[in-house]
Amino acid sequence: MNIKKYFGPLNKDNPVLVQLLGVCSALAVTAQLKPAFVMALSVTIVASFANLTISSMRNLIPPRIRIIVQLVVIATLVILVDQVLQAFFYDVSKMLSVFVGLIITNCIIMGRLEAYAMSNPPIPSLMDGLFNGFGYGLVLIIVGTIRELLGSGTLWNFQVIPHSFYEMGYMNNGLMVLPPAALLLVGVMIWIQRAKG
């Protein structure tokens, strides 16, 4: 199996930077690395399994109601993820709050179902979902790292910038913890992506 053909979403087909999908949640949950990572993981899981499920029954789905079937599958997976988070990652699930539920409306997932899973066999669909999740996650993790490092001086809640820096007059950037900072960062990343080719 040629795995390279699935690498598009990591670079020149990136769902956030090139297709501009899922930007809303990318702005909302990236103030810290941990929620950004859990969000990325949740979207990856939902995208992969939604793709796998829809692809396995793609020949049985009547085209007239395919969007409804896709939504039912996505909604089921998202609620499952939400329930699991509430049970095992309670702190993070509180941080993510409504944004887990909003994965249902994340255009990346529905986009991949329509564009790929409806017309391709299950295993390639699973890979496609996986790598689109990775592509989304990559952006979230980069933005989350920069925002948490500059905004709070921590990474994954561990103090990274030493206290001596603060004593010398270093200050956390207050803008970084606010949503506009994410917009600026994603904007710069889109700029770099475009400039590359």
Partner: protein, 217 residues
Amino acid sequence: MKFSNRYIFIFITIIVVICAAILTLASVGLQPIQNANREREKMTQILKASGYSDIQDVIPFFKKVSEEITLKGEKNDLLVYQVKTKDGQPCFVMPVRGKGLWGPIWGYIAVKQDGKTINGAVFDHKSETPGLGAEINTDKFMSQFEGKLLFDENGDFTSIRVVKGGVLNSNIDPSMGVDAISGGTITSQGLEKMLKNSLEPYISFLKELQTKSVIQK
């Protein structure tokens, strides 16, 4: 391939039933863990209001230092948690509940043994606006409540005022009010109302504490 209406109805029914079954199983199966998480969070908040933060084993610690007291109220029974603080004095934690801008807000107010000084306060919310009303659960906002007084010099219950524009810029005594959140006016007002309404039933209990502490002195 052409699908008949009959096929469409049967197909979607099967899909929906399968999904519903999966979700029901997940919900019922995970419920006990989720409830335990909520219970633990409640204990953490009560402990935080009493001055303990960063406790690792919350449940045994909570059982060790706290005691649940039920008071006979006018309408309903009232719940108070008596928690032994770090300096050995008991403090009394009362739950408060109210309405923010988008949904419920709640919290715990710990009052010192003298029955009028606030030891600490913890607030949380379901869905207030991030960066605005949601700031009520930040340490910056909550720590303002430490040492504030619920009663004035005449012994009348005044609750705590949440003052727009800053308590220092108003004619309210700085020991009876805190600064509201800029951009979170409705949440701030809701919080003030919540404190007043939720603490009112406790007035007789708090006054009792006040007389007791005077006698002890």
